[in-house]
Structure formats: C-alpha cells, structure tokens
Symmetry: C2
C-alpha cells in the first residue's frame, strides 16, 4: 500500500538532517582517496554511460540514509504505480504515461477503452510512414518539389524539448548520413520570432508542424495565422503545408486545414512530450524515423534502470536523492547544468522547464502547504563557454551552487584539429575534469583574491558519444530524476496551475477590462 | 576623498535592514494606490525609455534609506572616479574605461602616454572604414567576389555580448535597409561548434574575426586553427579571410596572418567590451558602422544619466540599490531577466556573464572576506516563452525570485497578424503587464493548488522599439547597475580570478601531469 507523506514527516529525513556538512570535499577528494571515490561512486546508466557522484558531498553513511529515505518514501513503488497507470497527476486526475511512448515496463495500461501503448505506437508508426513518404518524394508541394524544411510551431513543452533534441542530433545526423530536412522552430508570440524564421526559409518547400495538445494555445494559434498569411501571400495552399500534433479531442484533430494530424493525449504533459509525436514528427522528418526510434530505445533503457531499488545501481533515483540532500539539508537554492557539448546548447533550457515547472510548487499533492523548500532554480550553458562567463561566481561567489556536468569522450562531427599537442576534443574533456577538481578541492593562495575554497559539489554524466540512444537516456535520466524528487517532496510534478493566472489577466488586458495598476501598465505599453 | 567600506559597516545599511519585509505588494499594488505607484515609481532612461519599479518591494521610506546608502557609499563619486581614469580595478591595477568607447564624460584620460578616448575612437574609425570598404566591394576574396558572411571567433566576453547584440538588431537591420552581412559565432572548444558553423556557410565568401585581448585564449586559438584548416582545404589563403581584434601588445597585433587588426586594451574588460572593437568590428560589418555608432550613442546617453545623484532620476543606480535591498535585506538568492522581445533571446546569457562574473566574489577589493552575500545567480529567457516554462516556480515555488522585465511597444520586423481581436504585439505586451500584476498581487483561490500568494517583486524597462540606440542604452543600464552594485558590496567587479584555477588544472591534464582523482577523471574521459 502506497502512502504519500510529506518529507518532513519521514524519520529518515531527520536522520539525514543530522548529517549536514558532514563531508569535507577538499579532504575526501584529495590523493588516492579521491581516486577511490571516482571509481566507487559511479552508477551505470544506459548505453554504457555513467553517473559519477564522487565529487558530491556524500559518503557511505549519507548514502545509507538516502537509501533509507528512498525506502521510507516508497519511491520505487510510486514509480511502478506511475508506469502501471495509476492517477499520479491527482490535481488534474490524469495518468502519467510519457514513458509508455518508449516502452512497456509494467502491465498493459488501458484508459478510455484503449491500450495506451498500442495507441502511442500507432501514432509513431503514422509519423514514421508520413516522414518516409516525404523523404521518398511521395508527399511534395503543389509543384511536385520535395519539402526541404520542417518548421515546428509550438511553445513551452512543444518547443524546448524538440528544439533541444534537434540541436543535439543535427551534427550527428549530418555525420552519419541521416540528415533529411532542416528544422526550424517558432514559439514566441512576439511577431519578430515568426518573421525572422520565415525570412530564412523557402516557404514553398516547408512543412509546418502545429503543436498544441488542447488546440487552443494562444501563442501557437497566433503564429499559425502568421504562417498561413505568409503562405497565402506566396500564393500557396496552406492546408498542403501544415500538419497538426494535438489530442484527438482538440479542434485541430479532424480539420481539413492540415495535411495530416498526429495525436498524443492528456496523459503526456507538455514538458514530458519529447518522446511522443510532439518530438516524433519533427525529429522523424528531420532525421528519419529510425533515428527517432533509436532515441526512444535509449530512453526506454534508462527507464528500466530507474526501477532498481538499489540506489547505487539506480542513477536517476540517486541523482534525485542527492539533489534533495543538497536542497533540503545543505540549503542550496540553485543548480547549474553544464554539458561539455555544444550540441547540448539548449538542453539546459529544456531541463529548466522540466524541473522548475514540475517541482516549483508550495503545496503537496493534497493541496496542503509544505514546510520545506521544493524545486531549485535551474540554469546552465554549455562548457567551455560557461567557464568564460558565470563560473567566476560558481568558484568564488558567496553562495554554493551544486553542479551537474555532462561530457562525452568523442565529438559528433568527426572533424578536429590538434594544436599545442592536443585535439579540441581532448581540451574539452580536460577542461571538464579540471573543473570538477577545482570546484571540489579549490586551491589555497595567500592572496585571498586568488584563493579557492573548494567544497563546491558536482556530478558528471560521462558517455562515449552523443548518439540518439545516449540522448534518449540522458533525457529519461533527468525526467526520472525530477519525478523522484517530486515523490520525495510529495508534490504533484505533473500539473502547472502556476501558469494560469497570467493567462487570465492577459485576456483581461486585451479585452480592456482592467483598472488600477494593471490598466496603468497597459497604458504604458500602449495596448 | 573616497573611502571604500564594506556594506555592513555603513549605518545606512543597518537602517535598511530594519526595513525588511516592510512592503506588502498585494496591498500596495491594489486599486488606485497601485496605479499611483506605476505613475510615480518610474525613472526616465535614455531614448525615452523608463525603468518602472512600482512592483518592487519599496516605498518612500525604503527609497530614502537607499538614497542615504548611495550617499554614504559615495556611489556617484566612485562612478566619477571610474570615468575620470582612476585605478578602479585594483587587483589587476587597471583603469576601467569601457564607457570611454562611447563618450567622454569627464576629464581626458591619458594612460600609457595616450589619450584613451582618441585611441578608442581611432579604432572605431578604422573598423568603420574597413567595413565600408568591404561593403563597397573594395575588399573582396581572391576571386574578387564580395564577402557575405562574418564569423566572430571568440569566447566569453568576446562572444556573448556581440552575439546578443547581433541577434538584437538583425530583424531591425533587415527592416530598416541596413543589413549588410550575416554574422555567425564560433566560441566553444568543442570541435562540433566550429564544424557546425562552417557547414552552414560558404567559407570562400566569409571573413573571420579572431577576438582575443591577450592573443592567447586557448579556445579561440584552437578554433582559429580549425578555421584555417578549413580555408586551406578549400584552397583559400587564410590570411585574406582573417581579421584580428586584440591588444596592441598581443602576438596577433602585427601578424601577417591577418588582413587587418583592430585594437582594444587592458582597460576594457572582456564582459564590458561590446562597445569596443570586440563588438564594433562584427557589428559594423553586419549592419554598417552607422548602426554601431547609433548603438554607442544610446549607451553614452544612459551613461550620462548614471551620474545623477538623485536616485529617483538615476535608473541604473536605483536598479542597483533595489537589487541590494532584495539580495542583502530580503535575502533572495537569484534574479531572472525576462525580455518580452525575441530579439533579446541571448541578452540574458550576456547579462548572466556580466553580472555573475563581475560580482560573484567573496572578498572585498582589499582581499578581505566579506560577511554578506554578493552577486546573485542570474538567468532568464524571453517572454512569452518563459511563461510556458519556468514561470511555474516563479509564481508558486517556495523561494521568491525577483524579476526584471523588458518590453517594447512596437516590434522590429513590422510584420504582424491580428487574431481574436488583437495583434501579436498587443498580446505580447498584454502578457508582460499581466505577469507583473500576477506576480505582485497573486489571487486567492480556495483550492490551495490554484492559489497565488503574490508578493513577488518585479521591475520593467519599457521602450518604444528595440532600436540600436535603445539597445545601447539597455546594455549601459545593466553595465552601470552591476558597477554600482560592485561599489556597494565593495568588491572589484573588474577582475575574474575565479576562472584561473580551472585553466591551470586543464593544462596539467593535457600534459598528463596528474594523479589522484584528477587522473581518475581524465582516464574516465579517455584523455
């Protein structure tokens, strides 16, 4: 029997609290002891990757307490309940099934009279078939010319994830002979966004993928109008250039405005939808359906690891637990995600949404205020770029910011250059190794301005190369981490009531139904 | 006589501390009182813009205390000392002269036997003349074809600022007939970065601008080699495609490897160098030197406002003071920058560097540890995108994150579409107005999951349109804000000793001179 309890009611949490500031990183990471930690504090991930947490402020005793917490909070049982189709999103009374897009872990999940795995697979097959027909030149523009560009129109979860995934695999696909179509993304209601994208493409050769689960997202419908205008002005029939990704019950589902429609449903939250047709249509068009399938396989492999009750063999769970120790025991307010891979340039922005929208909550799943902090601020940029930017604060600022590095042994494009005795790739990897140690151990200098205190915790995920499978595993790792943290904090990670009020007030402004300060701001902005 | 004192030694700071949690935002922002605040709590900025702080947790008494703090900390005197050429960067014993690139505010600054304003102007003129010759077709590739693309190779301050400025003005330039050349940027030592940029351009028609003050930045030199290889492989003479922006004493300055060299000096820090040739060469090539000159004029206009001792008429100073109240009195650890303008998509990343690298320090300018927190974590994405991403945490998370909005009445590209009775631009502006009020006042709901407590402070900078002048003013505003905060915290905002240790350790890894954990990590990464 699963019971949902607040973190501060768990006895393992009291135990954990007593272990505050227990680990002195400069001390434990020094010398051979440090090397031993690097070897021992590593949890295997999918695709031969590893989550290495040697430079986190943990030791065997803290890990035991975290294991106890995992058990007391029934984290694995809750995970099983989720993938077996319980109503985990209690606020909206919904199942949480994004993982079912990439594999069947538990029992068949039947909802609304449908086997959900079969439904998701059918939509993937439909997207694959459609993409193959486009690539074979069976679906073309009115002149019979092939489509060369796919433009995703979506915002939030319909944008950040798919965009980050596209950028992550673009170089890889070019290098591996599976680059089919260039992808672009329009998201912002700022008309300059769409204008800018349209200026850079040949609209007569473009397919537009309109993504909105409800079919009512204001930004997306506005940008659809913008694009339809542009198609019309170019003398084109918009309905021959537009696809819809939506739910079966949305107004877009059966409309003749679209060349084809692909479906997800209410059991896949926007920020968890990269594995569904929200990511699948654009990525299958860009790189071919086989690449998207490989991405899903990597994710499924990681999902399977997340079911292991042994926290040391469960990288997703362990990352979540250590994050809670850092947030609720050590008291750190933010976390930085720092991939040493230019291909992951927008991955932190996606994780920022995933994490902050899921766990930025002040009430538990029963609507009661919690007495502890929940989701931290998440930010990040790729390394080595960040080293020349905000790392100063990370090294010498007054607050400690836990870090999450990602690094790969090989680059994607297969082009490199050797100068000063090493390749670019070696320099990249040397930098991330160096940073971990600089943050952990610091270095004494008698000039306090040049002194590094160290004691700044980090982990690193290491893989061979950012392949489609590795990307899927990486995405699943963070999705699962966020899920486990939501379980620990006892919040509903799958709703987002905090975005509603702004929408309501914006409508009021547009209807000129305002007074007081809201009217004053509206006047200032000439609305 | 200026005296540099720690914040916690100032009597005005004690007074300010006594004013913690004084302002109840939902209360003061309600009804006509709120409208009154919007009218009254607005400081004029350059170019007819305004800094509106009605929704910040301040009132007349707090503003008085902040004015006292400004006076006691001698902020205006310190600013004057800076632009008159005192050694403000004491750690590195350097003047701080980036403002001199855009105007002469005080006495002539003579250093190293040179009038510095004249020197910076001469470099601008050289860049302008060079750009004009490229645009007139007088400088071409070996075949006599015009150059169509400019690629900046730089990292950190040589990348983030110029890149953000380019993106900010690209649409504007296209719309206003001054788009001359497309610009691209290579920064990361990850070879996939350069590979990706080179795949997207015709190298035979590209000019590359190598930017490194010292001429020794590892990433930049590595990417130079990468690009030179590519030029060589294309049968091109690299020296006819490469420009250098560097200091006169660097190894790049007089090298025949470059078609031309443009100079800055040690008195312009990387993150403050957008106004120098670091931004000037690439932006003059992209948009023409007149556009860059207009950008500088806007910045100079804002710099002039920053000298006003009346804090209510000095938006840069006021923003700094309110930020310190939020950080050191209210105790907020992070700040989000949220421009409602897609053109400013990378502006937050630039400010992240500007702010965190400048003020992420734990020792004062004399090298003594400070007993208070300094620079916060800075992050942000453009609105309305962020609304569908991390705003959930900002509205309902357990920590309060102060917000800095930016909005413009008009878009840049001049293309728009009306649906549901309003244009995209109106929707964009309605959203930012709505967000300010949603954050400030919240809204009670008996369902705690849908309840908004409010009390989340924000400010907004409002302008007519993001023109070159407005962009210059915006940049100067934040540069000056960061400068004033550095003065208040008594830190040196112009050095970055925190980036050194990582470089040293990375070299050691590449030389295979490691042991312990560093060797273990290096082995894991196959270095």
């Amino acid at each position: 029997m699963i019971s949902w309890k607040n973190l501060d009611t768990l006895s393992s949490f009291s135990k954990l609290n007593a272990l505050k500031n227990r680990v002195n990183l400069p001390e434990v990471m020094a010398g051979e002891n440090g090397a031993g930690r690097v070897a021992r504090y590593a949890a295997p991930m999918a695709q031969g990757m590893q989550y290495n947490y040697a430079a986190k402020q943990v030791d065997d005793e803290i890990l035991s307490a975290l294991a106890e917490l995992a058990k007391e909070a029934q984290l694995i049982e809750k995970y099983r309940a989720l993938y077996n189709g319980e109503v985990i999103n209690t606020g909206e009374k919904r199942l949480v099934l994004h993982q079912l897009c990439r594999g069947q872990q538990g029992d068949a999940v039947v909802a609304d009279g449908v086997d959900k795995r079969a439904f998701y697979v059918s939509q993937q097959e439909k997207a694959a078939e459609f993409a193959n027909r486009v690539h074979r030149g069976e679906i073309t523009n009115a002149k019979g010319e092939p489509f060369t560009t796919v433009v995703q129109i979506g915002i939030g979860g319909s944008d950040l994830g798919p965009r980050a995934m596209y950028l992550a695999l673009e170089n890889w696909a070019r290098q591996n002979g599976c680059f089919k179509m260039e992808a672009k993304f329009i998201s912002n209601v700022d008309p300059d966004d769409a204008a800018s994208v349209l200026k850079g493409i040949d609209v007569s050769r473009a397919l537009f993928v309109l993504v909105s689960k409800s079919g009512t997202t204001l930004e997306t419908l506005t940008n659809e109008s913008f694009v339809k205008n542009a198609l019309k002005n170019a003398g084109l029939d918009a309905s021959k250039h537009m696809l819809a990704v939506t739910s079966e019950t949305s107004p877009l589902a059966k409309s003749s405005d679209y060349l084809a429609a692909f479906f997800m449903d209410d059991y896949i939250g926007g920020r968890y939808s990269s594995s569904s047709c929200v990511g699948g249509v654009v990525l299958s068009l860009a790189f071919g359906p086989e690449v998207f399938a490989r991405f899903l396989n990597g994710a499924a492999e990681e999902d399977a690891l997340a079911g292991n009750p042994d926290i040391r063999r469960n990288p997703d769970l362990l990352d979540a637990l250590i994050g809670v120790y850092e947030r609720n025991v050590q008291g750190y307010p933010a976390t930085a995600v720092l991939p040493y891979s230019q291909a992951l340039s927008r991955f932190p922005a996606h994780l920022q949404q995933l994490d902050m929208e899921s766990n930025g909550k002040s009430v538990n799943r029963f609507g009661e205020p919690v007495n502890y902090v929940t989701g931290p601020v998440i930010f990040g940029e790729p390394g080595t770029n960040g080293q020349h930017s905000f790392y100063q604060l990370l090294h010498q600022g007054t607050d400690i910011v836990p870090l999450q590095f990602v690094g790969f042994r090989r680059n994607q494009a297969g082009m490199d250059v050797e100068i000063q005795g090493s390749t670019s790739q070696q320099k990249l990897c040397a930098n991330v190794a160096a940073q971990i140690m600089a943050f952990a151990c610091g270095k004494y200098d008698e000039n306090p301005n040049k002194n590094f205190e160290g004691g700044r915790p980090s982990s690193i995920i290491i893989g061979d190369e950012l392949t489609p499978e590795a990307l899927g595993a990486l995405l699943a790792h963070f999705e699962n981490k966020v899920m486990f943290q939501g379980f620990i904090w006892n919040v509903n990670s799958f709703d987002q009531e905090g975005v509603q009020l702004g929408k309501v007030l914006a409508k009021r402004v547009l209807a000129h139904e305002t007074d007081g300060a809201l009217k004053a701001y509206s006047d200032l902005l000439d609305i």
